[in-house]
Subunit: 318 residues, 6 copies
């Protein structure tokens, strides 16, 4: 079975794929005929595909996020590889394929990632900070098991958000050992809370962001998390203006560093400065690693990466 | 009694003034002698003054925010007018002067301003929006009676914040009549809440901002107000994620329009767009009016005004 | 007769529409055949349409800005709704349709708008200011009856420019009452003159801007209006350097507020500051209102609006 | 007689100097005494000076822009060289000194500069362009003999504006020979008109700008020159909207290249692009030359130059 | 034979052209058929062309950069002119056409340009500066004969780089005569070296840039030239930290003027300031001249030019 | 003996201090008298001091960077603490004080820092990379023992540069373990070389930068290091255009990330992205730590820190 990122023009192939997007369209002929404009994907990438002359049954059978067995032909159309689907049927139980094999995912099991995050939260010594963090985790624990960290910017895959948190916790641990003037409780709490409201800011399934929620657009994950901290404090009988609550809110609100990047205040505590740099370092290096991983080995350069000043990365081989 | 903005070099004068700031300093002589470096003010402006050779009693008598009777001499020092204080004593009851006569204040009585704001709040038809707005007003009602709207940017005087709100409510009323597609409830609520947390962001007395609070620096009045709305909702048993709560938070969070001006999200509802423009129009026109008012009539140009692209305003007389 | 903004995929329909644009193209076949690529419009919006296999007669019959009766089929092509025209003929007198029914227009009759503008001009107390304003109005009065205020930015429809002026005059009236330090003569004059040269900067018909004139590109409406004021002064025997002329030119030149927005000087009089904010408020709120009006009711969000920091507006329903 | 840029700390000296600025101030003593705070200058530079214990007669004798004979002592005060004036009297006829010896001036005689400009204007082949240019020159010919090109930015000395024009005409001549596609008439006209209204934008004497005029602040020299071209056209019976008039206005309006540098339109003709680059090249190279000339030979680096990205220039000696 | 920039829709034509790009593609039919997507060019411009139903032999015959004789039909497709190729064969010896007739080139023979550059280098009086410059010229002399100065920005044609250098040398000569304080040796050296490493930064043939080299992307021509100067110094036994080496490196490193334009340091010597302005003036005026030359005479406006603030240039005819 | 950061107004004290700066000045009296304007410092901070009525002997005795015993009085002058020196003499051998006790220094011994750097270099597996790195270290090894990393931005103290490198090497080690796709040889080399040319860019003694060198200003440490790598390659017989040399130069040239921050190219390899983030993280966190350390414990907020968006840091105590 050929992986999508290994298809080349003129390949005929048979294999299982995920229908990531599917739209019924009409040809420009007279009379126009219906066809499917499809995005096929597997764990290695995705491709545009056409399925011509679809029947009424086809239209009742195939939907986005369905697994299918495809016989197809890869060819070049307007400089890009495209698939012409010759035959297609839904995958069934006997095929022994499972949806999660067809999506990109963090390289660590979600259950292990969420466990690491809960462990870190449990390790916060201050009971008030700990209880606020745990309140927020409980609010979205299910989503933490699978949410990506962004639509496309970075960690945009299954459990990408939890993976981002976990790696940041590792860097945070190292930094607290290297620089004892940092408060480990605050840094852990900041790492866990900084992006936690992305779970409500975006709607995602299988690691794929489909849209932003109304609340996500109108408030944004930064202010949403700040509001959650207020809510946690009130529900847990902690004064919402007390220094610990303010400290947590400051961490969350300032972590994008600059107003034009969405932070209404700039980092003004040691831990807030550290949080911003840990976040940037993990996000940027993961972008680099993921870009190199998903670029064919034969290519010297990755595609341009928006989050890296729109530069391509060179695959250095010395 | 000469008003401060009417003193000119070589004037000898006697009058009552407010000591706005007072520091004990030493001359550079050998031995150094103590003197007072003072900011004298009245309702028309302020001036630097020196009181030489102060005694131990003087140091126990005079403090910032005290009213004093001064005999002085105005002279020019390094291109600026300065006062040499010849004699000074504390004002007493017989003098019949009152502190509030010596500070700049909004041109409407605070009690009337706060009444107008409460009336506007009471006029919000939707009971949930109304109750959240009234919860926030109750939180800071005392401070609304006297807080300025800013340290120096605009409406920086006694009850300046309430005056800003009241004038904005007038513009809002006009706009809702001119453009019925705007929701008057939301616009009123947004106007009342947009700057309300400035009362906790800054520490002020008599219309003078002395500093920003720790919470003010770490969170900022925009996010503080958003958190207050969450708190109000929870205390009033309204779901903190419900559309009305989000709508109010959106108004507050977006009212500075751009990230680099401190808003984590940009206006995305009709009322949020309106709120931003009402706020800008009132603030800028008040800066112009106040600058013209406090510039001596003989001057064609006001000083440079930071909030107006650092331009001076020309006193047009056609 | 179905309005364009109510068509959905698979609708077959008959109705009258305006041909807003028409190009003869060839298919990619061998031999290539001619077809029409058409933009159909009515007062509710516009759509791309194709008319296949056009004859020599067709090419001599149909032209842009012609009214036609169309029998068509709406279908989706590349994610957008498109019309396939089955039959088409020119509208004739018996059809009883009139061009002006098919274009977007200001919600007030042009004759009333221009009347209001002339009334405002007549209400300028100062005879020199009034005569300069009236000179400029006379220069372009015909165009004021129908010109839009912009190609697409805001008020981009029949009589949009006059509607913009009229609404701004209403806001100006309110502000002069609220803040008596503003000079109503100057504010009225500034509102009427600020965009008046757009009538020569752009070429427009039926509220649609087709292009910018050479003078419009090389000089721009801001400097053109400044030159008109000089011309008016000379023709009316007013010294072109006199304070009133300079005051009017300052209003026009500064109304975009910043150099990067096209103003060579920044507002430095009270009325210039007011003019900029009135202009911004009216333009932005009209963008919001028009976007909400032309977005199907079922849509929660308008398209992205370039003039509003490229944000979409949420249709708030509380 | 010691030139000002050759004084060093502890020098006692006698010489003639110009009083560029003079203010009467009071010492901080009790009673305060009057003294003069003076800026002394000659053709080589300027220095701050104090004249203590001035008499009533002194105050009636000495004024800004007067020539004086001074006996003084140079010393260091707060890291800067300062002069203590021991004796001072007005220069008289017998002294044989003349004001123009004491100011910085262009290295070419004003009469020759203005002659060169008039020659260039006379050399414009097109009679309409020529007559407009000559109309504008006539308007300000007296001021061209002595005006500087700016307050401090570049060519800030006697006849600096005419020197700037003349040098630009030389570069323009060269470019038209190197690149025949450029229109020499337009380029000459653009060079002569581009900054001509600086003569009314600023008030200057002896090559020193004292202030900006009200019209200069409210309109700016760019729009003033555009208005003058309109005026010239009308007075000379040329249609103010004719292509030649528009071409000249485009040159003037666009010569600062970008909106944030004050140009309401950007260069869109070959000559306008050339004009901008000739202007920039001459202004920047003159800044460099003047900075090197007025920096003591012993110094490797000039002071920081605002117009050169605030960089200092290194005096290269290879 | 019709030049490409003179073809209009519906023209049938026969002529010789260069295949600048060629890709084999498939039609969207069932089964898909192969066709050529071709960029045809001659010295006057280029056009997209399609050659349908290509055979196996065709695919073995036609390649990019081949000269062909074409019988074709020009038609409009999606608003742009396109060519449908009816017949096509390779050019042969009898046809008497030569590749260099079909590419855009500088208006001066390469051999003359390189001669002028070598003359200028030979005219550098200082032996060390001269030998470093000549070392760098020798390194890339072959490429100087044909390299363009950029992919598309300016001088993007055969020998464009040498033409750019030569014209800059002319301006530099003029400036050194006009302003004797400039050092002609340094200015000549700076002009010759400033872009010389573009020959290794980009890969180009026949004046067409195909790509950037890995070293070009990772280091850039500015730092490459700086490194070459270090190399030249060491190979020529000149101390790499000596003032002359530093002076040359400063010229090269600073010539883009600002950090955001790629210069790690800003101009800080007279010659560096001059070099930047000579470079900008030549590049911008050449963009204007080339745009006017390659825009059909009937067009009033050139296309938008990225290097000129994305403005179009108006073809002024007075 | 009182540390400088523990002095308060009115303290009389005796102790040993370093004269960091000393200027002879004159009082404004008649006749003026000489006095010393001194910057006193110790390891805890620095203060301005005056020593009045200095004798000829004093002027021959006291110089910058001399150790002195001082009897003084601390007092407030213009809102800042200042010292009036009553008595002062040079420290002598019996006093048992040593210069290095009076300067700020990295918290690790220089010899240990340089040892760690040499160890890291020795650990580079690739012999060519290792030999280039060691060549550059040898060039400046002496200076590495004491140079600061910057004039004031960060690590501005004795051996600050080596401390910066060492801490970055620790972070680099951690990252290479966390993310095996990074090449440890390149990362180590990049960390050691990125700022190494600061030793020639600035002139420093005892951890204090006095100035930038001419080469430092004209070339900058980034391009200087790139040139050193070229030099090292040539001297070590490695081709200066070989991939390893280019890889090292890319790391150095891109480490400031953006053109406006001084990098002529942006990071385009995984290690270059990592290097930038390690550098930023170490520099910023050290600024925070140093600011908190040097701010009196009683102060809640540090001064504003230019390198942290000009924000003050709050001393969080939960």
């Amino acid at each position: 079975m050929t992986l999508i990122n290994q298809l080349t023009a003129q390949d005929e192939f048979i294999g299982f794929y995920l229908i990531r997007e599917l739209t019924v369209k009409q040809t420009n002929g007279n009379p126009p005929k219906d066809y499917f404009d499809i995005t096929l994907s597997d764990s290695s990438g995705q491709l545009n595909a056409k399925f011509w002359d679809v029947s009424k049954t086809d239209k009742e059978t195939f939907f986005p996020m369905g697994l299918v067995k495809v016989q197809g032909l890869a060819h070049t159309y307007r400089d890009r590889l495209q698939v012409k689907i010759m035959k297609m049927r839904l995958a069934n139980e006997e095929d022994g394929v499972s949806l999660t094999d067809f999506i990109r995912a963090a390289p660590v099991r979600p259950v292990d990632l969420v466990h690491a995050i809960r462990q870190a939260a449990a390790g916060i010594a201050d009971p008030q900070l700990r209880s606020i963090v745990e309140f927020c985790i409980r609010k979205v624990e299910d989503k933490l098991m699978h949410y990506p960290a962004a639509k496309s910017h970075h960690h945009n895959y299954y459990a990408g958000l939890a993976y981002h948190m976990t790696r940041m916790l590792e860097i945070g641990d190292f930094l607290c050992r290297q620089r004892p003037f940092l408060n480990p409780d605050l840094l852990k709490a900041g790492i866990i809370l900084h992006d936690i409201a992305k779970t409500e800011e975006m709607t995602a399934e299988l690691g794929i962001v489909f849209d932003y929620s109304v609340t996500g657009k109108l408030i944004g994950h930064i202010s949403m998390a700040s509001n959650w901290i207020t809510e946690a404090a009130i529900r847990l009988d902690i004064a919402p203006e007390s220094p610990k609550v303010v400290a947590l809110q400051h961490l969350v609100l300032s972590h994008h560093n600059l107003g034009e990047w969405g932070s209404p205040v700039q980092p003004q505590t040691a831990e807030a400065v550290a949080l911003h740099h840990i976040d940037a370092m993990d996000a940027k290096l993961q972008m680099v690693e993921d870009a190199l991983d998903t670029t064919p080995d034969a290519e010297e350069w990755t595609p341009f990466i928006r989050g890296l000043e729109n530069k391509a990365i060179y695959r250095q081989k010395l």
